[in-house]
Symmetry: C2
Subunit: 227 residues, 2 copies
């Protein structure tokens, strides 16, 4: 008998490094850290030039992000970062409150002491960013904090859904921070870490829920009155 693969699926030899993946990561990071302003036009050739590739991989990535509602393709074909609306904002908040506590709940049994320490480390960087008013760093570390938890869940379904949500509200939140600053920001990260250390599912769900509301609740809607 042969020692052939025990599974008839996923041999998955070696990860290839395509230009598309680089472009994808670059644009996603830019969206998540708020380097794209809502309403701002995005052009294929512009991004391609900026990233040093041909328009080809950019086209594919834009389609990807448009499918996740992170970019908007108008009917004239032009691409832009979607504008936030009160309805969209409320729905994103609702969806986050449905999905993210669930993800945290799934992750909890898999979270180790090392994870808790790493989360504490990230949280201290968040505090540092808030102190210096560096909104871009804050957004990156805040994202890291949440998805360090969620990713531990090994979720294949809920995790991509949450990913899509973050891509949708991040650019807008960046504009809010630019307007009202970051000094008033509060979060429930220390409570979350404590809940993880105590293996307390109820407390973790509550911390995540409250954290989402802290981030988007009062502060968030404030910016929607004008624009």
């Amino acid at each position: 008998m042969a020692v052939s693969p025990s599974r008839l699926d996923t041999p998955e030899p070696k990860p290839r490094n395509t230009a598309r993946q680089q472009v994808d990561e670059a644009i996603r990071t830019a969206l998540l850290t708020g380097r794209f302003i809502p309403g701002k036009a995005v052009t294929l050739r512009g991004l391609a030039l900026e990233l040093g590739v041909s328009p080809m991989p950019v086209r594919e990535v834009i389609q990807r992000l448009a499918a996740e509602n992170a970019l908007e393709i108008r009917q004239n074909g032009r691409v832009q970062v979607p504008q936030m609306t009160p309805q969209r904002f409320d729905e994103i908040l609702k969806a986050r409150l449905l999905l993210e506590p669930e993800l945290a709940d799934m992750a909890l049994p898999l979270l180790t002491k090392a994870d808790a320490n790493a989360l504490e480390e990230i949280d201290s960087k968040i505090d540092a960013s808030l102190g210096t008013g560096d909104a871009e760093s804050y957004m990156r570390y805040n994202r890291d904090f949440h998805f360090r938890i969620y990713r531990s869940s090994r979720s294949e379904i809920l995790l991509p859904l949450a990913d899509s949500l973050w891509l949708q509200f991040a650019p807008y939140m960046r504009t809010v921070y630019g307007r009202v600053g970051t000094v008033n920001l509060v979060d429930q990260h220390k409570e979350a870490v404590r809940a993880i250390r105590n293996h307390d599912a109820t407390a973790l769900r509550l911390a995540i829920s409250k954290d989402i509301e802290d981030g988007m609740g009062i502060l968030g809607r404030a910016g929607l009155l004008d624009q």
Copy 2:
């Protein structure tokens, strides 16, 4: 004064008819009605030939669907319809139970008597399809039934998330129906219509939840033992 657009956004003149949209719709419908078998390889040139277009628009659509986890791009670049796994199945079920009752709840105030009648019409077609054992028609009409409700919510966030979920489980469910048939299928559609007519939010949520469990609960996991 001018009669110019009252909003400073979205003039959106006329919808363009691109090859990409046609390809997108064709492949989505094929996935939702189970014409693609999980694990089946999908090739750019093959689809392009089949749909009478160049590989170009197919590439973009595949990227879109891959971003929604409706197609899987392996690390060697090959594309296939994702295989179902017990974990994925359970998570999809969980996600549906989180999102779809909420969508129905949002839709309820906007649903009219005409909607209820249309839903009843669709449900009769479902019964007809079940009678003749036409799984493909069943899947199309069942999809129509659910999204006729959900779409009424005018949701911009939760609706695309639910869309992604349906694309992920539809191909697998088709294989289940092919194995065990459709005669044993039960649903809660009549209860849902009744709840809509009575403007009973609690009853509608319950009907949707039970309907999801009827469709995926016992029957669904049965097929996961082998493959």
